[in-house]
Structures are given as C-alpha cells and as structure tokens.
C-alpha cells in the first residue's frame, strides 16, 4: 500500500506541476487534479487486501470519501453499526453479513432502505434472528437483488419464502438447511422469481415433488439446481429434465430416486453438464443407461452409490463429453475398472477415494487409456503398491493433482517416481505414507507445487523439507502434522523459500521452537497457523507471528503450554483479522483472554483446561468479545456463571459447546501411530 500511495503522489504531483502551475498554492491537495475515475482504477487494484483499502481511506479526507464511493462490497463486523456504514458507503452492491451472527428484521430493513435498488447480493448464511418481514423489506426495496444466500436459516418459514418471492429479479438463491420451508414456500418462490438461474435446496427436508415440479415448471431459466437430500421421487424429475438450460443438477442422497425415475433423462436435458447422484442407493447401471450419447454431460458424481461393475462402466461408455467421474466410496471390481479403461473418452479427473476393490491390476488397466488425466484421487486405496504408482507416473505425466493419503502399501521408493515423472503437480496429498527424504527431494522438482500434505509421514526430516522450501517457491499450503522428524531448520527453509505461504500445520512437531515461528513471521500472507502440541513454543514466537502475519485468521496453539498472557497482548494488538483461536491447555489467564476482546472479528474461541482462567475473567471476556459465535468451554463453568449471562450471549448469536473431558497426557508419536493402525485394523 505504501508504495502505491507514494507512486500515486509522485505521478500526480508531476502532472499537476506541469498543467496546473498557475493555480497552485502551497495548501492545495494535488490529488484534486486527479479525476475520481483514475483513483478508482488504482483502488481496483487494492481490492484483494482489505487493510490496504483501509489505510488508503485514512490518508486524507478526499481519499476517505473516494474510497467510500468506490467500495462495492461490505463485510460488516457488527450489525449495530449498519446504519452508519451504509451511509458512508453509498454504492455498495453486495453486503456480506457472515460476521454478524445476529441480524434482526430491523437490520434488514435498515439495509434495504439504505441500499435500495443498488443492492444486488446479500449473504445471510451465518446470521440468525431475522424473519420473513425483513426479507420482504429487502425484496420490495431492493428491486435489483440478484443473489441471496439464506443457507442455515433453520427458523425460516414459508412466509419468509413467500416474502422472497417478491424479489422478481432474483437469479441465485441458497436455502440449504432451511428445514421449515415446505412446498408452499418453494411454490411461492417459483411463481415469484421467474428469472431464477440457481437454487440450492439442500437439506430442505420439507420440500417434495410438488414444490420442485412447480419450480421446474415456472423457472425456465434454471441452470443449476441442488436438491440434495430432498424427499423427492420420480414424479418431479420429468419436469426437471425438461428445463432447457439446466447444466448442473445435484441429487445427492435423494433416496426416493431410482432407475425408473432416471428413464425420463432419455427424452430431455441435453444441456446437462454436471450430474451428481452420489449416495443414491437405488440407482444402478439400469438407470445410468438412460444417460444418452447426445448429451453434453461432462461431470458425473456417483460416489457412495451402487458397486462399479462391468455393467455400470459399460452403461456410461457412450457419453461423448465426459471429463470427470467420481466414484468415491463405491466398491469396485476389476472388470469395472477395466471397462472404464476402455471408454473412448479420455478422462481429465478420476476419483476413487476409499473404493474397496481398487487393485494394482485394475488401476493399471484403467490408466493405460486415460493418459490425459489431470486429477487423480486414490485416497485410502490400501491395496495398491509400487506397481500402481509406477503406472500412474508413467501414463499420466500431465497430472496436476494427486491425492493418495494412507496408501500404506506403497513403499518409499515409489515416491521418487512421482517427482521424476509428474513435473506439473500442483497439489500432492501423501498424508500417512512411507515417503522419506529421498522421495521429498524428488517431489521438490515439481516447481508448480502449491499444496503439499505430509501429515503423519514419520520418515521425513528437515533435509527433505528444506529441499521443498528451496525449490517450491509457489507453495501456499504445507501440512506437517505429526511429522516428528521436523525441526526449526526445515521450517526456516520453508519460510525463506515460500513467501506466499498461507497455511502451515506444524502440530505435534515437538522439536519446533520460537525460532521457527520467528522465521515464519516473514511469510506475511500466512492466515492459518496450527501448532498444537509444540511445548517449546513460547509467547515470544507467537508475538513474532502476530506482528509479522497480519492476515492471520485462524490460530491453534492448543497444548503449547509455554504460551501465556504475554503472547496474547501482541496478538490482540496486531492480529485484527483473527477469527478463530484455540487456547486450550495453554498458560493463558483472565488477562490474556480479556485482551483478546480487542480483536473485533473474533468469532470462535476454544478455551478448555485453562488453569489460570476464573469464572469472572471468563464472563468479562465473553461479554467483551461482541462477535463471538462459537465458544467451547469446560462444563464446570456452566454452574459457576449466572444463567442470564449465557442467555444474553446466546441472544447475541453465540453458541456454547460444553466439554467435560479429562486432561490427557500426550502419547509418544510412534506409539500414537501404532494405536492409529490398531484402530484401522
């Protein structure tokens, strides 16, 4: 930000000196000679970082007003400030209320009266306490409303849905988990919002065939329809398949849909590109045979469905445009895999996560044909060995994503092949594998790598990780969960080599000390730090992170027993974006907790087994943190604090999770893994 501003100053002063010399006097603000449009263009480039916009607006009065005029999206922290911020930002088109747990009808009326027809989009997915009256005000006043997210409005009734129906220009609507809404409400929306393009009714258990049928009948522009877990049957499918523009249809977990229901597909839905019928137990190859060859289906999700047999694979072979298929959790036969390998199309994406029955033989026969594969998920395919990895790396050299968590029979040598042959990998998940430093060194050749998950890889050390840090400069996400061989040198290599790192997990890497955190504080983009169970970390390291990583959103320092109040104070001061923190088992007391209250967007707080925490300190902290939505607490506090306090906090939108767990001593890592394997077997 600073550089931008100075550049701006320089260029503007140059210009003004040239052209406006005559009028100049010493008190003139040079920026007056820049047109608003020019400054708006500059501001457009600041969009990704909210803090930069804030500092821009604080430069001077004219910048303040310019920034106010320019801003299109608002993400308010407190609903009580809505009237003032809405007058400050007159051209807002989108209001994101995900940080305001309590939005009353009054707030919605305020928004609708302030924004009027400017408002196009509103997100209420994390808010409660509003009803149909507020929505009606929105629908009536904001005529240009295009997008409303009402997911999780579990209290919303049909009257609310009927109010929504007044938003005639609505195109996208999310109603996930609105369990009180019935066919009547959906019917109102169907009749009222004729321009609807996308609607998600996931988990709206009150909605059935009649509502959906009417929706499909009245909203002919529908492109995307999510009907997951609805109690619908074949009755409504024919009208859905008649929708002329439908591209994306999700029928996940619709148990009422069977083979006969899909027969209607034969006669319609030529526009369908993505079909999700995962967890539909009653659909077999007979139903899938209804997918005809003249469609444009690109993506098919059959996860957790009927077994992938020869018949099923054959029933899909005539799909000419298929690019992606997900078979997660389906039991699979060799013949089925082989038949998929014989399809004429070349798949781009294949997911076989947790498919029992995936063998070296089957996978190899499948992969010989699908050489264009970009994404492969073979998570928990526990039977595959070196042969499979050899085959994968030989035939699918263009792979960008390989997920193979817990492929326990794959030996450490196999991982060398990955780095040697698949240079374009961007995402690798080899959690819980036998990979060692040699494999890691080979993987580090994938210079495009952005996400690397190495959790529970007990064979890797600083040497391999340092190599990754040196070569993979684009790394964004690194998971070293329970990689006990890692220490400060590996982490500092990463911090040096990967300036764009956003997420790091060093939980239970017990040798990590403050110096790791101090080196990580150079990664200014870091937003998620998980360092559970690192007993050597102290408040000093945490302070360094707080100062260096202003973007920090999520911090987990559970069981970092040496972190105390001294770490909380810099955190409270610098990490103004922190939303989620876990302080369990640390040495933080009332003072530290109370200081966190200055972090205005703090939403989630987990504070179990804090020895220094008293009831009154907790009460003060809870009251001071105005934006809390979720607090995990020791059950003993329930009786120690007045009930009225909890009622008050709950009314503010805070949810309490009471835990009554005994203190558990940490296990030795090897011992922990043995126990884990015992559980699996």
């Amino acid at each position: 930000m600073a550089t931008t501003t100075t550049k701006l100053k320089r260029s503007s002063s140059l210009q003004s000196i040239k052209s406006q010399k005559a009028i100049l006097n010493t008190n003139t603000n040079f920026f007056h000679f820049l047109s608003d449009e020019l400054i708006f263009i500059v501001l457009d480039f600041l969009t990704p970082n909210p803090i930069d916009r804030k500092s821009f607006s604080l430069v001077c009065k004219s910048f303040y007003s310019l920034e106010s005029k320019h801003r299109r999206t608002l993400t308010p922290l407190r609903s009580e400030h809505l009237p003032t911020i809405l007058t400050r930002y007159p051209s807002v088109t989108r209001v994101d209320l995900t940080l305001c747990p309590r939005i009353t009808d009054a707030s919605l009326i305020t928004i609708s009266n302030a924004c009027k027809s400017n408002l196009q989009s509103i997100d209420l997915s994390r808010s409660k306490n509003f009803s149909g009256a507020g929505l009606q005000s929105l629908a009536l006043n904001c005529k240009n409303m295009v997008e409303i997210d009402l997911s999780n409005a579990t209290e919303l009734r049909d009257s609310g849905a009927a109010a929504l129906a007044e938003a005639k220009n609505l195109e996208r609507l999310w109603l996930g988990r609105c369990k009180m809404i019935t066919d009547m409400g959906v019917g109102c929306i169907a009749v009222g919002c004729r321009k609807m393009k996308l609607i998600s009714l996931k988990w709206c258990l009150g909605v059935g065939d009649l509502g959906i049928e009417l929706l499909a009948l009245k909203c002919k522009d529908l492109q995307s329809l999510d009907l997951s877990y609805l109690p619908i049957t074949e009755k409504c499918l024919p009208s859905i398949f008649k929708l002329p523009h439908l591209e994306d249809l999700v029928l996940e977990g619709c148990f009422g849909i069977d083979d006969d229901s899909l027969a209607a597909l034969k006669h319609g839905c030529k526009s369908l590109k993505k079909l999700d019928i995962s967890s539909c137990q009653n659909i077999s190859h007979n139903g899938l045979a209804s997918l005809t060859s003249d469609g444009v289906l690109e993506q098919l999700v059959l996860s957790h469905g009927s077994p992938v047999t020869l018949a099923l694979a054959d029933s899909l072979k005539k799909l000419p445009m298929l690019q992606s298929i997900k078979l997660d959790g389906c039991s699979i036969t060799y013949a089925g895999l082989q038949a998929i390998g014989n399809w004429c199309v070349s798949l781009r994406e294949l997911s076989l996560s947790k498919c029992p029955g995936v063998t070296d033989e089957g996978l190899s026969s499948l992969l010989t044909k699908h050489k264009d594969l970009r994404k492969l998920d073979i998570t928990c395919c526990r039977m595959i060995t070196y042969t499979s990895i050899d085959r994968i790396t030989l035939s699918c050299t263009a792979l960008t994503s390989l997920r193979m968590e817990s492929c326990t029979l794959v030996p450490r040598e196999a991982f060398v092949l990955i780095g040697q042959r698949c240079r374009f990998l961007e995402e690798i998940d080899i959690t819980d594998n036998e990979v060692d430093d040699e494999g890691l060194k080979s993987i580090s050749r994938c210079s495009e790598l952005s996400s690397l998950k190495l959790g529970i890889c007990l064979n890797i050390t600083d040497e391999g990780v340092a190599q990754v840090g040196m070569c993979c400069s684009k790394l964004v996400e690194l998971d070293l969960y329970r990689c006990t061989g890692i220490s400060d040198s590996g982490i500092s290599a990463i911090a040096r080599g990967c300036p764009g790192l956003k997420m790091i997990n060093i939980a239970y890497c017990k040798d990590i000390t403050d110096s790791s955190l101090i080196s990580l504080s150079k990664c200014s983009s870091l937003n998620t730090v998980e360092s559970r169970g690192c007993p050597l970390i102290t408040s000093l390291g945490l302070a360094a992170i707080a100062v260096g990583c202003k973007q920090l959103v999520k911090l987990d320092i559970k069981k970092c027993i040496n972190i105390d109040d001294a770490g909380m104070i810099p955190l409270a001061h610098f990490s103004q974006n922190l939303r989620q923190i876990n302080l369990s088992y640390t040495s933080v007391t009332d003072v530290g907790l109370l200081s966190l209250a200055s972090i205005s967007c703090l939403q989630s707080l987990t504070i179990l087994h804090l020895k220094g925490l008293t009831a009154s300190g907790l009460a003060a902290a809870l009251l001071a943190c105005g934006g809390l939505t979720k607090v995990k607490l020791q059950a003993t506090f329930k009786s120690l604090l007045p009930q009225a306090l909890f009622e008050h906090l709950e009314a503010r939108g805070c949810l309490f999770l009471w835990r009554d767990k005994f203190f558990r001593a940490e296990l030795d890592p090897q011992c922990w893994k043995l126990q884990l394997e015992d559980n699996i077997l």
Partner: protein, 490 residues
C-alpha cells in the same frame, strides 16, 4: 297417449290463464294467506289420502270464475288436491265394506259448504270493486272469515277421506286417471308472484347434470310441488290422524292400525308395482319459484328429475342456509346432507391459492397454480388466520343470507297479511339497494392490483369478491351461496 295429453293440457291452460290474471293484478295477500293456512294444518298436505267427490264436479265452478283470481284459486286448490290423491292410491286394493250412502251424505254436505263459501267470496269480490280505497282492515277481516270456512271444509274432507278412500280408488281405477294434474301450481305461483321483483336467479346446481337428456317439451309430464310440500319434513301423511312419515312404506305400516282393511297384502304392497309394467309417461318436476330456471314458466325451463332433486334444488337455491358448520362456524347450508359432506372435509381444506380457492389436497393446489399465470400458493398467516377470518366472512355472507331468509319466510310462517306486505317491502329494499350487498368492508378487503400482496386468510366467501374482480379467471367458483351473490353483483 293423446287422451292423457289432453287431460294434462287442460289444467295447464287453466293455470296459465290464471297466471296471466295474477300477473296483471299482483294481489298477493290472498294467496299467501292461503299458504299460511296450509302450513298450519298439516292434514292439508296429505293430498294423497283425501277423498273427493269427483274431479269435474268441483273444477267446474272454478272454471267459471277464472276472472276472479283469488277465489278461483282458493277453489282450485281443493279441487286439484284431490286429483293427486287419486293417483297415489290408485292401486290400492278392493274395498271391504263401503257405505255409499254415508259417502254421498258427506259429499253433498261438503258441496253445500263449498258453494256457500263460493258465494261469500263472490260477494267480497263484488264489494272490493267499490271500496278500493280503503283496503287493509276489511281485507283482513274477509280473509279471516274465509280461512275459517276453508279450514273446516278441509278438516271434513279429510275425515271423509279416512273412511272413503278405498271407495274412491275403485272409481278412479276404472277411469284410468293416472295423470297428476298440477294441483299446486296456482297457489305456488301466487306465492311466488310476490317475489317477482327479485331478479332472475340462475344457479348451477348439481341438478344440471340431468340437463343432458333434453326431452322435447310435451313428451314428459311436469309436476310442481308447492314449497310447503317441498320443505315439509314428512312427505307422507296419515289421512285419518294426520301423522307424518318420511317413507310411504312406514305410512302403510301405520295405516294398519286404523282398521283391518289396511292389513291386506295388497294394501301393504308398493303402490307403483303394477304400473311399472305398462308404459308410463316420464315425470319431470318444476320448481315453484317463479323466475327460476327450473320453473316451468321459464323460457329455458330445465326440469328436475326427481322429487329429491326438487327438494335439494329448492332448499339450496331459494332457502335460507340454516345449518351452520359447527367446526368453522362460517359455512352455511340449507340441505343437511351438504352440511354433513362439508363437515367431513371442514378444516382439511388447508391448501389455498392466492386467488382464494381452497383445496383439500396439496397436489390439486399445485396443479391449479401450474395452470394459472400469476397464481401463487398462499401461506396461511398462522397468527392472523383465526382472528381475521370470521369477521370478514360475516360481512361477505350476510347479504345473500338475508335475501334467502326472506324468501323463505314468504312461503311459511307469515303472521298476517299486513305483515307480509311489509316483508315484501323488505325484500325489495334489500334487492334494489346494492349497498346491502356491497358493504364497504367487502371492498376494503379486495385486492385491486392483482396478486401483488399477500392473500387474505382463507375463508370461503372471499371467492365471490375475487371472482367479481377478475371474472375471466374465476370460473372455478364453488357452488355455494357465494356464487349467487356474485351473480347479483354483476
């Protein structure tokens, strides 16, 4: 057949002539008074069992007096009444012991009395021409006088019939007088003349179902019961004691108690059984309500198929809805069976459309919404539903109810002639004054710009106001009182 037609046509013609008279002279009092009499004396309703000297004998004088409408009617009632009973008892068994002499004495006594009464009425008519200026008191007195006489005649007739009925049957069966003259026409016409001012009342009942048969006029026989008969709880009356029965079979069982002659198997058998073998003329029924499409004088007369149809039609269309649903306290019915049908579903019609139509099934509602542009499911406002519903409904339904009840009073319990005149005035008022239909509240609740607002809570009568607003799209109005209301509005 020709012969029958002739016999049938004769009273017809007479009837029409009388009608024409009364049209010119809407003199209501007498006719309605007659009604009152009939109503009060249940025995008079028992036309089936009355004995009567002969058809010609009594109808002759009435023929002469067609120029004197009131009187002739009076006579005719009695005369016609007899004919019916002939038919009813046509197939009764042979007579066991019959004393023609007693019979003759009785009849000549009756004849004498009727002639006396006839003279009296003549006198009154003559006088009336002179004293046209001061009507009410004198009219009332005359009425009372004639009523008293008539009552005694009727009572005697019945007692005669009690003993003589079987005899008469024998006579009649010989002459094959099977047609039922329209004995009640005149009276009912008179009664309804008074309500002429009420606008033509067309309504779609389920009786329309039989319209398809399209019998050419003349191929069937038209019968018209009078209102009292239609509305009487019992249709079969004992000629001896006057006890009423719902079923003829029960009456026949009852008759056994009046003497051994009723105990024969033939007397207990179904009276119609024999006639079924020979070709009988098709019978159709006419509604006594003048101006009704089911009334035989209507230009597009559509007859009713059975007596039950007549009863239901008359009650539904021209009567007060006196049965209120105990569940919703809003829906009213004039036929108790309708109430029972409604009560089965009452409260279950929870699926409603913004147009006000309710459905007992959700899929029917959604089918309706899919069909019509702009219609949307109406979400019942749980809180307001109960409070708003009845009050608004009350306004809407009051007007038609009032009219209905007045019509009803017409034919039945009218205390006196003068009272009746007032009643007529009331009717006129309520018909002429449109505000009684359109209470201001009714307008307020209407939604004038389409369906933009939330529909009102569900109540049945809203349909009428809605259909008024958009006549094109509301062809699905239910056949309730609301409909007739909306018709009148137009």
């Amino acid at each position: 057949m020709d012969h029958k037609d002739k016999v049938c046509a004769d009273p017809w013609a007479k009837d029409l002539r009388n009608k024409a008279c009364s049209d010119r002279l809407p003199f209501a009092n007498f006719g309605s008074h007659q009604h009152q009499n009939k109503w009060e004396d249940p025995s008079i309703l028992d036309y089936g069992m009355r004995i009567e000297p002969s058809f010609q004998k009594l109808s002759q004088p009435s023929e002469d007096q067609t120029s004197l409408p009131c009187n002739s009617n009076n006579e005719k009632t009695i005369a016609d009444g007899e004919d019916v009973q002939m038919n009813d008892i046509l197939h009764a068994s042979k007579i066991q012991d019959w004393d023609p002499r007693t019979m003759l004495t009785n009849l000549s006594f009756l004849e004498q009395k009727i002639h006396q009464l006839q003279d009296l009425v003549h006198l009154i008519v003559g006088r009336r021409g002179q004293v046209q200026g001061r009507p009410d008191e004198l009219v009332a007195q005359q009425q009372q006088l004639i009523t008293a006489d008539l009552t005694s005649i009727i009572a005697q007739l019945i007692s005669t019939a009690g003993t003589e009925a079987p005899v008469k049957l024998q006579i009649n069966s010989g002459s094959k007088l099977s047609e039922q003259p329209n004995q009640t026409d005149l009276i009912t016409n008179y009664g309804t003349e008074q309500s002429y001012n009420i606008e033509e009342h067309e309504s779609k009942d389920e009786e329309d179902a039989d319209d398809g048969e399209n019998l050419p006029p003349g191929t069937y026989e038209i019968l018209q019961l009078e209102k009292e008969e239609i509305l009487a709880p019992h249709t079969h009356f004992c000629a001896i004691c006057g006890k009423g029965f719902k079923r003829d079979a029960n009456l026949r069982m009852h008759m056994r108690g009046h003497g051994d002659e009723y105990k024969t198997p033939a007397a207990l058998a179904k009276p119609n059984k024999e006639s079924s073998s020979e070709p009988t003329l098709i019978k159709r029924y006419s509604c006594p309500y003048a101006g009704c499409k089911r009334n035989k004088d209507h230009k597009k007369f559509q007859p009713l198929k059975t007596i039950l149809c007549v009863k239901n039609h008359y009650k539904r269309t021209h009567c007060d809805k006196s049965y209120t649903c105990s569940r919703c306290n809003t829906k009213k019915f004039s036929v108790i069976a309708d109430l029972k049908t409604h009560e089965k579903h009452c409260g279950k019609d929870k699926w409603l459309c913004s147009c006000g139509t309710t459905f007992s099934r959700k899929d029917k509602l959604f089918g309706h919404i899919a069909l019509f542009q702009g219609h949307t499911p109406a979400i019942p406002m749980d809180e307001t539903k109960t409070t708003v519903g009845p009050s608004e409904h009350g306004e809407g339904s009051e007007a038609p109810n009032r009219v209905g009840s007045i019509n009803f009073n017409f034919g039945s319990i009218v205390p006196s002639g003068s009272g009746l005149v007032q009643n007529i005035m009331d009717v006129k008022e309520s018909v002429d004054d449109p505000t009684s239909y359109f209470s201001p509240l009714n307008f307020d609740t209407c939604n004038f710009d389409g369906f933009h607002e939330f529909p009102r809570p569900p109540f049945e009568d809203s349909e009428s106001s809605f259909s008024f607003l958009m006549p094109g799209s509301c062809n699905y109005t239910q056949k309730t009182g609301g409909e007739s209301n909306s018709k009148k509005v137009e």
